[in-house]
């Protein structure tokens, strides 16, 4: 009887590699076919698109119900006005109801849903420098909706996934499942991201065209991107090697190129709307304060400080603004204001990522405060915070939040007497405060540590 022939390890690997390459080539061809299809003009809704639209409509309600939409009548009116300035009569599209909303998140970002809901993050509103830059971002998102990018991406993704799954089935049938599967997943990622990048570039360039025919200066779109590049925090992840957006540097370059070649400069600066930094900063003052709170909550302490400084620059005599900056310093605790050289190195970033994934923010703070350098920094930051809280309470003696901040700061520094006094002052100024129970409990906890009055 013959023994069955056994392939050597090298031969088996050769077969696997051959199958993987074959699967990859097939997928590449399929995905190229999927993305190279001409776009139907005008866009026609299929059942899948309508189902997708229905699902995304639900997101609006979800964001609203979950308290993720920021409501401030003046700001909402301002963002709506800027957005509507960019819309034209032909933008009344089927299944699109234009809405410009503010999303409570300290990230510098914006997104559009296919149903016409455009969300600008509080972090982005606080970061851009003027109304025209905000218009630039909104123009980009409007193009995504107008050119139906959401549906096109979804259609393309579905086609590619179908290809992948068929290939996986064929791979399993022919015995080369593992290699084919890996190759297929890789090619899918490349292909989906590649298509997404194409659409992003289109949104950038068409958005700039939209801005060029609006009262705003199209150059501000470039400035908005430049401004988004600035980061106060150490970017732990960095820009991906091959992300779904083109790299910011490349975006700035092609936009700059287009604007320089195609947009004639208007005669005077006054011919452009929304270029005043001061006016814009005043319009977003309250939301910036809100964003400082969100940034502190998210552990983005350096961002909070940068925004707090920005607020104080606009209104140095505002107790609320000074208190926001003080809150940021108090939260910064044992960390330096500027990232250290070690923090920026690869090892520093890896360590920080590890720390963030393992420890809670409170544990991280404790760890840092346990070092001599951390203690030094904490002392300095707390001193700065205290100075600012006192300044805020001098500016407006009835400004309750400054007293609350002083109470928290004293409590952090194990000073029960001043902490309890500051908290009591806070409650006296704001007896109906939302956090009155929280503060009352804190005072009760401090009571046993207080020195008895004679």
């Amino acid at each position: 009887m013959h023994k069955p022939y056994r392939y050597t390890l090298a031969t088996r690997w050769y077969f696997r590699l051959r199958q993987t390459l074959l699967a990859g080539c097939c997928l590449l061809i399929f995905s190229m076919m999927a993305s190279a299809q001409p776009r139907p003009e005008p866009f026609r809704f299929g059942d899948v698109d309508l189902e997708f639209l229905d699902q995304t409509k639900q997101l609006d309600k979800k964001f609203e119900d979950q308290g993720l939409v920021y409501r401030e009548p003046e700001l909402n009116a301002f963002v709506n006005r800027v957005g509507n300035t960019l819309l034209k009569s032909e933008d009344q599209l089927e299944n699109v109801n234009w809405q410009f909303r503010v999303y409570r998140d300290p990230a510098v970002n914006a997104f559009a849903l296919p149903n016409g809901s455009i969300y600008v993050f509080t972090g982005l509103l606080a970061r851009v420098q003027n109304e025209a830059q905000l218009a630039g971002i909104l123009a980009h998102e409007i193009v995504h909706v107008r050119n139906r990018h959401g549906y096109l991406s979804y259609r393309s993704y579905r086609k590619k996934m179908l290809t992948i799954n068929i290939l996986s089935a064929v791979g399993a049938y022919t015995g080369g499942g593992w290699g084919a599967g890996v190759a297929a997943q890789f090619m899918l990622a490349i292909s989906v991201i590649g298509y997404s990048r194409e659409l992003e570039k289109e949104a950038d360039l068409t958005g700039a065209q939209l801005l060029a025919v609006s009262p705003y200066d199209a150059r501000e779109m470039v400035n908005a991107l430049e401004c988004l590049k600035e980061k106060d925090e150490v970017d732990l992840n960095g820009e991906p090697f091959y992300g779904d957006h083109p790299k910011t540097k490349a975006r700035v370059a092609y936009l700059n190129d287009w604007v320089t070649k195609s947009v004639p400069q208007r005669e005077t600066k006054e011919a452009y709307a929304g270029s005043s930094k001061e006016d814009y900063r005043k319009s977003v003052e309250a939301v910036t304060r809100h964003d400082v709170e969100l940034a502190i909550d998210a552990g983005l302490y350096r961002t909070a400080i940068a925004l707090g400084k920005q607020l104080v620059e606009v209104h140095p005599d505002s107790s609320a603004n000074v208190t926001s900056l003080a809150d940021a310093y108090a939260a910064l605790g044992p960390r330096p204001i500027e990232p250290t050289v070690e923090e920026k190195t690869g090892k520093g970033k890896r360590d920080a990522r590890k720390r963030r994934s393992k420890l809670t923010l409170q544990e991280e703070e404790k760890t840092l405060a346990a070092t001599a350098a951390g203690q030094e920094l904490q002392k300095a930051n707390y001193a700065e915070a205290e100075k600012l809280y006192r300044q805020a309470s001098e500016l407006d003696q009835n400004y309750a939040l400054a007293w609350r901040g002083l109470g928290e700061l004293a409590e952090k520094q194990n000073q029960p007497q001043p902490a309890a006094e500051a908290y009591q002052k806070y409650l006296a100024l704001q007896p109906a405060a939302m956090d009155r129970l929280l503060i009352t409990r804190r005072i009760k906890t401090l009571e046993p540590k207080l020195t008895p009055k004679r």
Binding site: Q66, L162, Y173, S357
Partner: protein
């Protein structure tokens, strides 16, 4: 078909295991405060409980990729919340009517934000908890006294956080699973994570996880209640309604 023998050896036991045990409680962790009380024994630590709005995410895995099921997730949310409430009521805990339902918070932006912030902080903490669930027993996790913002009348003992996520399978995907001998592609999967946090200190008192291949979004929640009751087995019971009445008298 060119499936090796080992492939069948892997597929068949897993397939039958999932059919025999379609739902299982994956682990229960209790804070030392609760651990001291024996299971089934009445304790006075937590009695009045509020189930916070559940965070539910559902997708449909099909041949053409994953499809969002936002509408279905929204419909499943009250079902899951109710099932959790029933499982807790079975433990003699008094589940209070939630004052944090979206309709109730419609015009109260501040409370809505406070709720959103608390849910976000919990989601951050959840990532740490799932990384080292055992640390719940070491009293390591807390949301801080910010929870008091939602307990303004001081009448709630604990908040219940519910996160559920699941993946349904389309017919095509099930067929692909059968062809490729992969039960993961064939069966739906649902995870429910429940955490109970002290409504005054924010400490995470209990954490539990459950897995099932049965649809958790069905209006008939009997199976889900059974699963959650099983996954909360170690949680000490509260005081019976009769005893509460007697104490009042």
């Amino acid at each position: 078909m060119k499936f090796s023998r080992s492939r069948y050896q892997q597929f068949l036991p897993l397939f039958f295991l999932l059919l025999i045990f379609p739902a299982s409680a994956l682990g229960q962790r209790l804070h030392p405060k609760l651990k001291e009380a024996k299971p089934g024994e009445a304790h006075s630590g937590i009695q009045r409980i509020v189930v916070l709005p559940a965070q539910v995410s559902l997708i449909k895995g099909g041949m053409k990729g994953n499809e969002p099921l936002e509408k279905e997730a929204a419909a499943a949310t009250p079902i899951i919340e109710q099932a959790v409430a029933k499982a807790l009521t079975a433990k003699n805990l008094s589940v209070m009517e939630s004052p944090f339902k979206p309709e109730a918070l419609q015009n109260d932006e501040k409370m809505k934000y406070a709720m959103a912030d608390l849910q976000r902080n919990y989601a951050e903490l959840l990532a740490k908890i799932t990384r080292k669930k055992k640390d719940v027993e070491k009293a390591r996790f807390s949301l801080g006294d910010q929870v008091l913002l939602l307990n303004q009348d001081d009448n709630i003992d604990a908040f219940v956080f519910v996160h559920a996520f699941g993946q349904r399978k389309s017919g095509g995907m099930k067929a692909l699973g059968a062809i490729t001998l992969s039960p993961i592609l064939m069966m739906p999967s649902y995870f429910v994570r429940v955490a109970i946090a002290d409504a005054r200190t924010g400490e995470v008192l209990a954490y539990t996880e459950a897995f099932t291949i049965l649809d958790i979004a069905k209006a008939d929640d009997k199976k889900l209640v059974e699963l959650l009751t099983k996954s909360l087995k170690k949680l000490p019971a509260g005081t019976t309604p009769e005893k509460i009445e007697a104490e009042k008298k």
